[in-house]
Amino acid sequence: MKGITKPSRLEDKVRSWWQTHLRCFLTSLGQLLRTPTTTLLTVTVIGIALALPAGLILVVNQLQTLTEGLNTTNSISLYFKKDISDDHVTAIRDKLEKDERVNHIIFISSDQALKEFRELSGQGDLIDLLDENPLPTTLHIVPTAEASPKQLDSLVRSIKSLKGIDQVVFDSGWARRLQSIITLLDRFVLVLSALLIFAVVLIIGTTIRIGIQSRLQEIQISRLFGATKAFIRRPFLYSGSLYGLIGGIIACVLLLTSWSLLSEPLHELVSSWQLSPSASSSPLFRVCLLVIVGGVLLGVISSWIAVAFYQKELETSEFI
């Protein structure tokens, strides 16, 4: 019967596509809910395995933003020799100010330094005893925040080669050490993340494999009645992505909980160090999104691998 109400083929296809996927999704969800304890255990393990690297990434990220605040306190102090002329100092200052690694330069003449010292120390009488000003003319060079430790090193070296310099003090030892610790931490988190992601793939893959084994008859029957590989794969991809999704949500809950526990002491730390309160929660939400999306992707990938392994076997094996 052909009538005007007959829907187009494309419409039919789209509808049947939706139906197929919705049915598959609901079936997979139903299967997870049928064994609640096992499912809960599995997704919790996945959640922890996802939360751990995500949390560490967050911590490292926060440390990095905090130490960015510290970088501005790094300055290079340049002490000139006694007999240097003001013109020479001005020339060097002008030259350094043009350097892209340099943010700004504070100039302190020897007279100014002495005046400040007199005021700060209150030892004016003692200073009067000296027949000449013992303090050198000084430049405090504040590098830009973007300048890397390596760039700063080369800046210090080039300054040391200038004429009339008595001493260059680059008080960056602890800041640089902190930086390298953070870099090390960063690498460590990277390696740990890779391992834990691999663990998640194994967990989901194994779970899916067990699921395949428990539904062997269904698979065989479906194959006999003409199911395509994609048809057989689909419910497992849905289960896999559901494991990833729920695991990701659990990871987010863990992250948000630990964050709310940590944020107050962190803020105290930040304000006690008089750093900019950069510990905002915006990276937290980004990481949460990443964990959920990543969880789903990992679920799809690992179940795909599990089914592919099995289907390879299926092709060469015979029906039960």
């Binding site: 039919d12 509808r15 049947s16 139906q19 197929t20 049915r23 008859q217 269904e218 029957i221 479906s222 194959r223 006999l224 009645f225 003409g226 199911a227 395509t228 590989k229 048809f231 092709e315 015979e318 029906f319």
Partner: protein
């Protein structure tokens, strides 16, 4: 149309289940494959259903050499074949309705079309009132009929049944045979493997008798094949 040309199926370690078997089953025919246990009846059906691959020879279904079909296109031929197992092989975690609907779901039927077809198939086997039951709550005869409904719901041109009456009493067996005859009447090729020679003979349909993987008597239809 199903044609076997000198088909041999070797099970490693078990010997040859079929030995250079040649036979021809024209389209829309109903035939019985008989023989003692171990004669190779199941093997014959499983080869047609693409559940296994033969070792030597050639199998043509509707003129297509099934060995030449790559694995990824085999699903299409499988949809043309309905298979009925002796042990039903129903999915016990699904209702009768869902069991019967499986081939339709696989073939991607519209969800409004599925109930109509499932009901028609269940009606045919007289189980319309059991659609929401689970297989384990049904009798063996009823489970067998659910298996039949599942095999025919997609209206395949070929129906294969492996010992479909193996567990049933004679009355039920005759009923099931009548059901197959009905399908055959509307043009379905039906191949039934059974060790119950008497039952097969009583229907008056063609019989292919197997013994140790060979034809017991030279089959007239397969002789005819060579003259075609």
């Amino acid at each position: 149309m199903i044609r076997f040309s000198e088909v041999t199926k070797l099970y490693p370690g078990q010997g040859e289940a079929l030995k250079s078997l040649s036979l021809f089953i024209p389209a829309e025919q109903m035939v019985f494959v008989t023989g003692h246990s171990g004669a190779g009846k199941s093997t014959l059906l499983r080869l047609i259903a693409l559940m296994e691959t033969h070792t030597r020879g050639q199998i043509l279904i509707d003129g297509i050499n099934i060995q030449k079909i790559p694995e990824k296109h085999r699903f299409y031929l499988r949809r043309q074949i309905g298979f009925i197992f002796q042990d039903h092989r129903l999915l016990n975690d699904r209702t009768v309705f869902d069991n019967v609907a499986l081939p339709l779901v696989i073939a991607g039927f519209d969800h409004r079309e599925i109930p109509r077809r499932v009901h028609a198939a269940l009606d045919k086997v007289g189980l319309l009132n059991k659609e929401n039951k689970f297989p384990v709550t049904l009798s063996s005869g009823e489970q067998q009929r659910v298996g039949i409904a599942r095999a025919v719901v997609n209206r395949p041109p070929i129906l294969l049944a492996d010992e479909p009456t193996g567990n049933l009493d004679p009355e039920l067996s005759i009923e099931i045979m009548k059901l197959f005859e009905e399908f055959n009447r509307i043009g379905v090729t039906v191949v039934i493997a059974t060790h119950e020679v008497e039952l097969a003979r009583s229907t008056g349909h063609r019989i292919i008798a197997l013994k140790d993987g060979r034809l017991m008597t030279p089959d007239d239809a397969s002789l005819q094949e060579h003259t075609l």
